[in-house]
Amino acid sequence: LAKTTQPISMDSYEGQEVNITCSHNNIATNDYITWYQQFPSQGPRFIIQGYKTKVTNEVASLFIPADRKSSTLSLPRVSLSDTAVYYCLVTTLTFGKGTMLLVSP
């Protein structure tokens, strides 16, 4: 199974763009990259998914280079309510420790 590596934590301020990078060197050809967001005492919530290049939805963008060995979740103009843990998944059923994003005023 492909293993993912993310920063343990990140800090940002309201209104800034936040980029969280995930490393997945052993990604398989048929693996998709999926990001989830989790608030305290809640279940994870799907944010975005991609296979290659760039994917954008109303919440975030996902950038995937050609070799697919990493991916970057981009959150534009974060707000306090974006404070959460963000998980990068390559194999759907395998969560790592995630990245704790703290957004300050």
Binding site: T34, Q42, P44, T92, L93, F95, K97
Partner: protein, 117 residues
Amino acid sequence: EAEVAQSPRYKITEKSQAVAFWCDPISGHATLYWYRQILGQGPELLVQFQDESVVDDSQLPKDRFSAERLKGVDSTLKIQPAELGDSAMYLCASSLTGLAGDKETQYFGPGTRLLVL
């Protein structure tokens, strides 16, 4: 918007007691998952059902944990006897078919927080 329901939301029990958690997935979702999440860690898959059949229970501690989904709809996860190390959040998730592999989105419930004293 349809949601995954779980109950109870919180459970406090003493070690050696039995506990049970209930999950009702989104209507029409064939695949149901139970995860355990220890504080500060990501969710860890315990068991996956496809309709009423177990697809993967390789990480389920079968000496004390059991899970069933008898009619292929709602599901129950049981721990007997509970141990101190079982204190965690137990999350249920569902997905539409479970056949699309990594591409299929999972929808999570709010979880049941278990404290074993």
